[in-house]
Symmetry: C2
Subunit: 551 residues, 2 copies
């Protein structure tokens, strides 16, 4: 027997319709690429997004076609966004920080028909245009005055693109499972893989993000997404803000401490979100200039693990609540949120800080478990660690064009229907998850797992150590044993015995690395993280002394 | 093109699964029917609900079968609820305040197979059992010790019903549009009509209710639903609390001021919800005993318009935020929420109080418009009023077994796909809705609408008036004109001229009633509201002096 409730497909055009109906005059403030602060409203966003829809239709874009953006957070980017999504085209946010060749590869793979881009990225667009096979229309997110003419390819100014088009256009009318957004995730190996969000997944994810214990935004909030729209929909904020009627502040291209601080204060921002490096820039700027935050209440921090100093600075020095978030592009992106539980509030400040350093707990709509190599669940005792698997309505089940498929249906799911995050984690009795390693970096010693990151974090504290990395290397008896690679501080030369002595008592006996090797430089990736792949390659012919003894 | 996200049907079993996974030890406190306060947890609720599922299966209940409850808010009621819903049976909450004959009619109409009931309602069950055609099993929500034996029909004690059954049972596995709950709404005319909620509508509605600007509950809240589960799912709280992990306090059968106060204080309640009469009882008890509220932060008030004195008492005397809510059983029930906007916060306290007296604004998931008789939208200027139409994923499109159908599909929808609330309302420029009348009570004079309630509210203030009611009566020129019926205060006998003189200047000239008639007693309905149907019947042969003049 079916229920007798209305059919109301969860499509993202309804989000902007709601904002227009209920909060037409609420402001959208943008630090424009042209320079000055510009002021708009949800009504204006709605009207201009309708114009985008009509302009896209005129340019031959139809249901399911991909439309790309290479752009900062601005109102025009939002207009392209809702204009494309509203008509059932797929808005493909391209990460401009990738190498131009990768960008070209991604745009060709997505078969984008139209490319919207900011002036910042003109050099990239000019460079890759000859390689782009499907893009027919290049729209610069600017007015005519700021659009260079005579370029190859021909650039249309956004204001010219939409000018003269009607502010009425049909939106929606398709099923909620229709594709809505496309975002590529680039692993350390292989080609980038596209996550294809549906309207349903985006709407449900925004509803989840709007609950009290996640971002907790409401109509009285002013929200500044420093996290870019090309990072998993600005962590949902491009949907969350119009859904709840929050005033929206868009930072444009300037994400430095001084610029972000200016917006936070001038626009009376109450909630903001970004990766740790942005906040390090802001905190440095505030310390250097002896500044305070007068309106900010909550800051969401994710993308990489939060440094304790950043957490303490916000909470202890500035009275701003830190919401530690963890997620993935494949999760739309919210996975867990580090909001405190009654059990944490009942404990002291230091315990709370420790709890906030963990990645947090799953909101309704995210199922989470940790399993061993056979898929058997591990206990939630805060000690046992296992591969972190997730499930939910805003979690990917496959990649665009079946990239990385694990079964004949093209899915990237485990047999149990969970997505494998590739992370290894613990979950404590309160349900709080902590990432302990990447699955491929975990060391499997005699069937037991050793966390490379745990050892690294402790080894970093040893005298004379500038950087430390642990990898698993072949062992005839144990399959793998940990090798600790040390980059000494300038002028220092710590010995194996000194370092192992330092570790003694700080880690389990059987976790103790079988060898310690000093190197001049530990290889780092583009984001500053240790490049384990390169490191493993460096040590591919290495033999542990213990292995030689065992043979 | 379809998105590539996981299939994760929105079914209510996932709500309790989430609570069990993330908040297993969070408390559920019940004032038991047996007397003492009992303490349980979400884990326990989950385990015992699974036992209910197995017991129901043993008694032949299967997907789509209806299971009735005639019960107060208790943990056992929640167990029956999730046990039935989890397996895909339809949980039918029966309102025990109806007449026994109505209860019997409803249970027969729903074809309930099992009836769970509280000891309070044994007399009703004994009385109606001979009329019940489909109920095979009668389960008293008690242990064996508190279950009378030798009754006809045979009563099974709930604890015996579930005893020995496994605490593992498959839940879900059906589509999200599957029927989940059934709740009858009784109008002033005709048979009661059943609203058949789906799993999807209940889950989406709970997500909507959990957003910051609706109930705004989180894991650090302690929630006391005084509103009964047989009133549209306790306004979603039976889903909201386990979804966010709030501690749940169930008041059992005692809803008087002293009992509610005791729970609010003893259990450190932060959020509660009920109809105005409950709060009048609580406020009287607190005033009489000079008591304060030490933990309560927010109180949701709905079901009927909030008296200003109740609003002011909570906000001004006790520092508790009032959330004025409006809804209908057909809306799951949330329609609007009177949370303040930035524009209200920028105004003074008296303006805010005035704004809070309105019914509020629609959250995302509720579309709302006001239209004239031709379905043409009326402006949102706070002045124009029209029929209030609503739309959304938790709004009914039809009643059970096609009751009250408006088209051949059995739907009760307008051609535009909106549900007609039967109310007449204004919507102001901030999107805040105010009910001005029931549609059938509005007076249609020469194509323009006159609000009976507006005139009544003003006439109530005239000297010598105890009660006042306005109905439309036939007029040959204007179709209808208002007739004001007055019940004078004891010993008073206000004249027509005195009363019209009092109204002069307080209402539009053309709203002035064409006649004023004094009666001994204005007929009231069971809930104390004016019975307009009876009043119209009293005056069915009445002729206005102005009508006689016009003929």
């Amino acid at each position: 027997m079916l229920g007798l409730m209305q059919d109301w497909p969860l499509t993202v055009d309804k989000i902007l319709d709601h904002a227009k109906a209920c909060f037409p005059r609420r402001e959208i403030v943008t630090r424009s690429l042209e320079g000055p602060i510009s002021r708009s409203s949800y009504l204006n966003l709605w009207l201009r997004s309708k114009q985008v829809t009509n302009a896209l239709r005129e340019h031959g874009v139809t249901l399911g076609d991909r439309v790309a953006t290479l752009a900062w957070n601005t109102e025009r980017h939002m207009e392209a966004w809702y204009g494309a999504m509203g008509m059932g085209a797929v808005l493909h946010t391209v990460n401009p920080r990738l190498f131009p060749d990768q960008i070209a590869w991604i745009i060709n793979h997505a078969e984008d028909k139209v490319l919207f881009f900011d002036a910042t990225f003109i050099p990239i667009v000019e460079k890759i245009a000859p390689q782009l096979k499907t893009v027919k229309t290049y729209v610069l997110l600017a007015d005519r005055e700021h659009t260079p003419t005579g370029k190859v390819p021909h650039f249309v100014a956004f204001e010219d693109f939409i000018a003269g088009h009607s502010q009425e256009a049909a939106w929606g009318g398709f099923g909620e499972d229709t594709a809505c957004g496309l975002c590529y995730t680039s692993g350390t190996t292989g080609d980038p893989k596209g996550v294809l969000y549906s309207h349903r997944s985006n709407v449900l994810h925004a509803m989840l993000a709007n609950t009290t214990d996640v971002f907790g935004c409401g109509v009285n909030d002013t929200v500044l997404p420093v996290v870019p729209m090309f990072h998993a929909n600005a962590w949902a904020i491009a949907f969350v803000a119009p859904m709840c009627g929050a005033k929206l502040v868009m930072p444009g291209a300037k994400l430095d401490g001084a610029s972000v601080y200016e917006l936070l204060e001038d626009e009376k921002v109450t909630f903001t979100a970004a990766v740790p490096t942005v906040w390090q820039g802001l905190l440095t700027h505030m310390r250097d200039n002896n500044l305070k935050l007068s309106t900010l209440k909550r800051v969401a921090i994710g993308g990489s693990a939060i440094p304790e100093s950043v957490l303490r600075a916000f909470e202890e020095d500035y009275g701003v609540e830190v919401i530690h978030a963890w997620g993935m592009t494949e999760m739309s992106p919210i996975g867990t949120i580090g909001k405190m539980l009654p059990e944490h509030f009942a404990s002291d400040h230091e315990t709370q800080i420790k709890a906030k350093m963990k990645q947090g707990r799953a909101p309704f709509g995210v199922e989470m478990k940790i399993v061993d190599d056979e898929g058997k669940p591990k206990p939630h005792d805060g000690q046992a660690f296992g591969r972190l698997l997730v499930k939910g309505p805003s979690v990917a089940r496959a990649y665009f064009k079946n990239a990385g498929a694990k079964n004949e249906k093209g899915e990237c799911l485990q047999p149990c229907g969970f997505f494998d995050t590739g992370d290894v984690a613990t979950i404590d009795p309160l349900g709080v998850m902590q990432i302990t390693d990447r699955a491929k970096d975990v060391i499997k010693s005699g069937g037991e797992w050793i966390s490379s990151i745990d050892i690294e974090n402790i080894a970093m504290g040893a005298p004379g150590v500038a950087n430390a990395a642990v990898i698993g290397v072949y062992h005839p008896k144990w399959d793998e044993r940990p090798l600790l690679v040390v980059e000494p501080k300038e002028g220092a030369n710590p010995s194996k015995d000194e370092i192992l002595g330092y570790l003694n008592g700080k880690i389990a006996k059987w976790w103790t690395p079988d060898d310690v090797v000093n190197v001049e430089k530990i290889p780092l990736g583009a984001t500053g993280k240790i490049n384990k792949l390169a490191l493993r390659d460096m040590f591919k012919d290495y033999k542990l002394p213990s292995a030689q003894a065992a043979e």
